[in-house]
């Protein structure tokens, strides 16, 4: 794993960037990776773990290939985000904070993503989708690989 993400010549200040890179390549941050990274940056494992668990876009448990994040904040709630959440539950068969058994989807509720003018909104990986309807949800999810 350390061959995939080289911490050579990196400083402690690069920790968040290195974690983000690893997250992109591995899908999450395995314990073994964080332990090795701590050693190569001359930091304690708990400090590395502390950063990894602080940020909501970093995961310390395996996630699906596609991460679906639905906004649960007030502006989206006012535009029926609850219907969207139920729609997704029906389409992929899992509840928020779960991952499908085949590893295709993880489903999360997230806080305001700044798309309130197009509420209700969600993210599928790095893409933002707004003005959601159950039919649009279906199309978006079917297009995921």
């Amino acid at each position: 794993m350390s061959k995939m993400i080289s911490a050579q010549g990196k400083r402690q200040e690069d920790l968040l960037i290195l974690l983000e890179e690893a997250q992109n390549k591995l899908g999450y941050l395995p314990k073994e990776f964080m332990t090795e990274l701590a050693k190569s940056l001359d930091m304690s494992v708990s400090d590395v773990y502390g950063v990894a668990t602080f940020y909501s876009f970093l995961a310390t448990k395996p996630r699906g290939r596609n991460v679906i994040r639905v906004c649960r904040s007030l502006p989206c709630f006012l535009k029926n985000s609850q219907t969207i959440i139920e729609s997704i539950e029906r389409e992929i068969g899992i509840k928020p904070s779960e991952t499908t058994p085949d590893g295709k989807f993880s489903f999360e509720l997230t806080n305001c993503i700044g798309a309130c003018d197009k509420a209700p909104a969600m993210m599928s990986n790095n893409d933002v989708y707004g003005d959601l309807t159950p039919r649009k949800i279906s199309q978006i999810l079917k297009a995921c690989e």
């Binding site: 400083r11 402690q12 200040e13 690069d14 920790l15 968040l16 960037i17 974690l19 983000e20 502390g50 950063v51 602080f54 940020y55 909501s56 876009f57 970093l58 904040s73 007030l74 502006p75 709630f77 006012l78 997230t110 806080n111 305001c112 993503i113 700044g114 798309a115 309130c116 003018d117 197009k118 509420a119 993210m123 790095n126 893409d127 933002v128």
Partner: protein, 405 residues
């Protein structure tokens, strides 16, 4: 009431992917003027005289901040653009980044010239990752044209943390740490990123800089009120027919924005300033939008008569409890206790004692929290207790014989 598009003047006019379209609308003329005709001190005097205050919510005088950084000793100085925009109901910075990254880059370049910084960062929230390519290319085109010979501008991505919109937590995040708030003093202009003089400005604040340099402070002074100069970009959402971004002269009334432009009807209350913002009941809809009245970063979320006040305040507090960085006890513990108390009210299980707890806790958090999150977290509670106390009273659990505990 018509909009006055100063910050937004290029949005949906130029092509954000092509610098040539920006150059055709006076692009980089302000930067050239600053370089060729003005000293650092003169640039800062102009910004001071304009009365420009921060547009990210705190409203600190921009010129003063730059002056402190310029005067701080040292050669290593930083300019950071705060594009973390996590306040609930705020999307005005997103709109600007999507449509006119060049004005922002020009603003950063002028700021760097003024304070003597050679390194700039744009801290972009993780949720805006899809804008990373656009911004990186805009910086590249600017460099190719020779406008960044005095400065490197690098993108830095967040990883999902509302508190990293707070300037000191943001700096800790750039340093690869948990986004925890710092004790102040020292303040960033003297000791900021990596302990060096640093200015952190909101996207919208920097968007104002080129026009002020080109048109002069006096021009800017004539717009707005005595203590709130210029315009403000508002993000309107919720129970409105026309959600979106609107730019108004400061001092305009909330009614003009919410009913006049966004076409809201049957309004019960408006949350102005996001999760840590004010809750304005409809009777006060004529309130001016200005620093001396009610403002924040410009998030305006409208709730109609069907909405439940307690539910709104509860959800707001849940958000704040989750996003608290956890460093200081008043906020870390206080937001949790408030959220738990409000949950009970939302189920009709509140007590009289709870209201006293909320009031006392509000005082403690406002006085002793380390940053604006904890200091302003009680605001929705204190406002709703003031304007919608009946909603709380009616949720107090009745004991035997109807006696209130």
């Amino acid at each position: 009431m018509p909009q006055k598009r100063i910050v937004l003047r290029n949005c949906e006019v130029i092509d954000p992917k092509r610098i040539t379209t920006f150059l055709a609308t006076d692009g980089f003329k302000a930067l050239k003027k600053a370089w060729d005709e003005m000293t650092q001190e003169e640039v800062i005097e102009e910004i001071k005289a304009s009365g420009l205050r921060g547009r990210g919510g705190a409203g600190f005088p921009c010129g003063l901040k730059w002056d402190l950084a310029r005067k701080a000793p040292g050669d290593e100085k930083y300019v950071i653009c705060n594009a973390d925009e996590g306040e609930v109901g705020t999307f005005k910075d997103r709109y600007v980044l999507e449509n006119d990254p060049f004005t922002l880059i020009e603003g950063i370049a002028i700021a760097a010239y003024a304070v003597g910084a050679k390194q700039g960062y744009i801290y972009l929230r993780a949720e805006y990752h899809y804008l990373l390519d656009l911004l990186t290319k805009a910086i590249g085109q600017t460099r190719e044209r020779g406008f960044l010979h005095h400065l490197d501008i690098d993108m830095y991505e967040g990883a999902g943390a509302y508190v990293c919109g707070e300037e000191s937590a943001l700096m800790d995040s750039i340093e690869g740490k948990r986004g925890e708030v710092r004790y102040r003093p020292p303040f960033p202009p003297t000791q900021g990123l990596r302990g060096k003089p640093t200015i952190i400005n909101n996207v919208e604040t920097l968007m104002n800089i080129p026009q002020i340099i080109l048109n002069g402070a006096r021009w800017f002074n004539q717009i707005g009120t005595e203590r709130s100069k210029g315009t403000k970009v508002f993000s309107v959402s919720g129970d409105v027919k026309k959600p979106g971004v609107y730019e108004l002269v400061l001092g305009s009334h909330l009614k003009e924005l919410v009913e006049g432009l966004a076409l809201a009807e049957k309004v019960k209350m408006v949350q102005v300033g996001g999760a840590t913002g004010r809750i304005i009941p409809y009777e006060m809809i004529d309130t001016p939008l200005a620093f001396e009245n009610i403002l924040g970063a410009g998030a305006v979320t409208v709730f109609d008569e069907s909405r439940d006040v307690i539910d709104v305040v509860y959800r707001t507090m849940e958000f704040l409890a989750e996003e608290s960085c956890g460093k200081c006890s008043p906020c870390r513990e206080g937001t949790e206790v408030m959220a738990e108390t409000l949950e009970r009210f939302s189920k009709g299980e509140g007590t009289e004692r709870d209201i006293i707890t909320l009031e006392q806790l509000s005082q403690a958090m406002m006085l002793s929290s380390l940053c604006g999150l904890g200091q302003a977290a009680p605001t929705p509670v204190t406002d709703s207790l003031q304007y919608f106390r009946d909603d709380y009273e009616s949720r107090i659990k009745q004991k035997q014989g109807g006696t209130v505990r």
